[in-house]
Amino acid sequence: MSKVAYDAVIVGCGIVGAACAMEFARRGMRVAAVDREMVGGGATAAGMGHIVAMDDSDAQFTLTRYSQQLWQQLRPELPDDVEYEQCGTVWVAADEEEMNEVRRKHDYYRSRGVPTEVLESRRLKELEPNLRDGFVGGLLVPEDGVLYPPCAARFLIERAQECGAKIKTGVCVTKIEQGHVRLSDGGEIAGGIMVNAAGITAPELTAGIEVKKRKGHLVITDRYPGFLRHQLVELGYLKSAHSVSSDSVAFNVQPRRTGQILIGSSRQYGAESDAVDNVILTRMLQRAQEYMPAIGALSAIRVWTGFRAATPDKLPLIGPVPGDRTRFLAAGHEGLGITTSLGTARILADHIHGRAPEIPIEPYLPSRAAKEFAHA
């Protein structure tokens, strides 16, 4: 492998690296992709796996919606074990203030071509009978879905391999230099361009980027088919996701095809240990029971943690390292990387080939944080 020159060397085989490998290889590029562990490990294996349109900012909405449509196009090709389910998201409003947010969100999505339905209290309860009584209403986003991310990453890598991509796992890239990457086994892989898709380890390979670890906990239950029908998210989720300083929890549950329920979510900066933190786990499950009291009677079978790769402005870094023509970034996707992987790969490939992407790449260019690079 070390003697062959590739058109592109991708560092990281999480969902983002996997999507880049497939997109580049399909366009005829000779691709090598390397991962220190495995295909679809890291945050890809730890996350929930939602395919959602999110409107935290216009740029986030554009990338998530574009990516969601790319997933919908890919859906007929996805094998059964990817478990793509278009279950829809319901944003749950606890009070009138949150119901105003439901109406704002409804207008925002509708004006951008995303179907939504405003739910009154009774209709919400019909859709999700296990929610407690007394919620004001909610917003149904029917095109949102969920999938099983490790199998999705494996599928993307297999598609890349069918187009000639070479995959190397179990070896660590220690340096990304111009024209090649250096490996922990002493080898190197030469290539025309290098793509850093290394998630939380991206800053170790590209100086000057601000990507921080944001720890999360998840719980999965035994199988309870019919207990939950949609992905449910509290509207306070955005308040939680926005809080950059303190630990936070928010109600977010997903039905899986097996009938299992995935229960989240928590957010912690500065937590380096991957051990389960029982204090925040308890808070997270209490929050879940405030929304769905019957969750307390379910059997949980596993609890785990993971680290999101978070940027200061909540947008990923997609595009060239400033001042560098051969090294690129596809990192910092925080909690939305499963959704935004396909859009990331598509606009990065367009950019590299000098074509105008279908959505503007500018909001995600690493140069938007050029000050930090200047000081690096």
Binding site: D222, R223, Y224, T258, A297
Partner: protein
Amino acid sequence: MPSQVTVMVNGSPVAVPAGATVAAALGSAGQPSRTSVTGEPRGPLCGMGICFECRVTINGTPHRRACQTFCEAGIDVRTEE
């Protein structure tokens, strides 16, 4: 105290000695306890509440461990998920 109790396993009566576990009733009835995600039959393995292979629905509550539950007269045991 009667020497035998009768429980319902998937709608059929099964008589077991008083004090028997639901796992014993399943054994008498010749029933597996559940079906795995990939469709394989599962039955009591450890018999002491650790392996969770013997989960059944009892009186409508799913995922009760048959080996940790005593038979009471007339309880409704379901092995389908």
